[in-house]
Symmetry: C2
Subunit: 362 residues, 2 copies
């Protein structure tokens, strides 16, 4: 694998090498089938098996309790920002509450407000989205249609350290950039959704986990493709799903289960990777963006003493095969995304580079 670089991209992001290698081996023809996963019918027995197995693996990995459904949709989190209020706000006569902890939370509430009354129950803007609210901080509406949170903000690098509890309305969670990185108490949520291109696969598929009684609120006459109930009823096969993307998610779930050993083990690996980088951030010279108690284990964001040094950091890192370290254009600085598939070795290389860069420039 010496021809591969360390890819710290925030998404689409690095995938496990064994997954890439299996996909490569099978790319021209699936063993025993003579048809590529890029070509095979979504109505084939093979794909039926992939779909059922992926749902079973997700159920096992996340310990999803009975009474939940899993669907695979398209359009990423951005489409969810509209689908969720269409399905769960429209026609309820109630407002929805949004906890806005970064750029993705902002986008979510902006789209929701096109659909109906969506309150900003808390907004971290005053602190430049460097922290998260305590349980009592958000101004929640009693009996809100739902409360929406973003469990990890990819751009700012803040992450809820445990499943948050905000009131008693159904909790809807955009888990895009931390999905499958650690165990979750699914029972606390009405809905969890995640675009796949961080920890769960490639761009082009979104995993939605919905509590069945929450689904009962979906109004009639929605566009079928935007109707969660129709999607669940048809088991992700109302239209042609992104077959290849779901197959990659399947391979990743298998990797998580059999090579990593489940989400508790995955979380341990992720904690260690994050620790290595935050330790460097806290050694001076660098300045972390997120408050320590809210730090993301997926997206490590920090600044250097000057923009010139930040540019030099990104440029020199590439000489060590460390790529995609530039922070999001809206925030600046440095961001190292260290999703599940980023190997410890890659993080160690970055850590060494950070130490060395500090010594040379600090």
């Amino acid at each position: 694998m010496s021809d591969r670089v360390c890819n710290f991209s925030p998404g689409p992001a690095v995938l496990p090498v064994p997954v890439l290698e299996q996909a490569q081996r099978e790319l021209v023809a699936l063993p025993g089938l003579g048809i590529s996963a890029l070509e095979i019918s979504h109505r084939s027995k093979w794909f039926e098996g992939v779909l059922a197995e992926t749902k079973a693996l997700l159920t096992e990995l996340l310990a999803i309790p009975a009474g939940y459904s899993i669907v695979f949709l398209q359009g990423g989190s951005n489409l969810q920002f509209s689908m969720i209020p269409m399905n769960f706000l429209r026609g309820t006569g109630k407002p929805a509450d949004y906890v806005v902890s970064g750029t993705w939370g902002q986008k979510a509430v902006q789209e929701a407000q096109k659909e109906g009354p969506a309150n900003v129950a808390w907004d971290g803007k005053a602190d430049n989205y460097s922290r998260l609210p305590n349980a009592g901080e958000p101004k929640l509406t009693p009996d809100a249609a739902y409360v929406h949170i973003t469990s990890n903000e990819t751009i700012q690098g803040v992450q809820f350290q445990a499943d948050p509890a905000f009131g008693s309305s159904p909790l809807v969670c955009d888990a895009s950039s931390e999905f499958l990185s650690r165990p979750v108490n699914v029972a606390q949520y009405g809905m969890i959704y995640a675009c796949a291109q961080k920890n769960a696969g490639i761009a082009g598929v979104t995993v939605c986990i919905l509590r069945n009684d929450f689904l009962e609120r979906v109004p009639a006459d929605l566009p079928t493709m935007l109707d969660f109930k129709a999607m669940v009823k048809n088991d992700s096969l109302y239209n042609t799903p992104p077959v290849f993307a779901i197959y990659i998610t399947n391979l990743i779930c298998k990797w998580l289960q059999s090579e990593v050993g489940g989400l508790t083990k995955m979380a341990e690996r992720n904690r260690e990777k994050a620790r290595l980088l935050y330790e460097a951030v806290d050694s001076g010279f660098y300045r972390g963006h997120a408050q320590p108690a809210c730090r993301s284990q997926m997206n490590v964001t920090f600044r250097l003493p000057s923009e010139e040094l930040e540019k030099a950091f990104v440029k020199q890192a590439e000489k060590h095969q460390l790529y995609e370290l530039k922070g999001h254009r809206s925030v600046g600085g440095i961001r190292a995304s260290i999703y599940n598939a980023m190997p410890l070795e890659g993080v160690k290389t970055l850590r060494s580079f950070m130490d060395e860069f500090r010594k040379r420039n600090g």
Copy 2:
């Protein structure tokens, strides 16, 4: 390639072998980049290049005139069935006209009717969707918001033999199952759209070609992901597009241009493939579904004297490595989908099998 079978699936469908082989070679790491196309950022220079090149190739292949935009979306034709009336019917105060020539046309108008007044200007149901209307047949609304057609009905196997002219309202065409199979006079259309998984790539990306002045009608405050104007303005990068799917479309466009020699050459190949099968259909025993003047060159649909014989046909065909020949569950019979990437050799094998099966059972 001896481990591959002949895949007559209606979609997802067979891809050109050179495309599969290139994707396979590059799957673990793109040459010189060290990152897989499954992992690379949509903001990377590489993907910017792929996107620009794919648009340029489509423009050249289809001779798209100035004043049109190309965007790559998700959700397939089914999402388009809702997006189109949201963007071009809502708020116009006019009805839209739908020419319904098969199952996909039916689905399109049903979704449109959720959004606003959508007339069935013509419906081929009385003839079991075996024919298409003449220019004068549809009852068109003067000054309709648009006229929607399905240029090829995948399930019934009927296809407009040339770009149809229906009144003077903008013509919106679902070209999903014939896109890139022959030249098109794009200037006749307000919009052409196609899910990729027939001739243009894999499931998970939809190509939309829109006339810029038609785009000006898009109302304000649509959900951003469903707003064609926002999608065009952001050059398919408002959200994370399905990077890998667009890369495969890119490889297919290159194959069409450099290995096939363009769409006129592609159409010649497709005509010859279709001719071979319809000749067998017309030799007795078999009974074609579509009237000869409306026959699809992509989906060849026919019946046998009994359902038992149809079952035997499908089963015995598999012994010759001929797969996915069963007609759609809503119609029955046999369907051979012979998209661009189905080689002439595959069609010849099917033709021989059809002749032999007739001799044995006729």
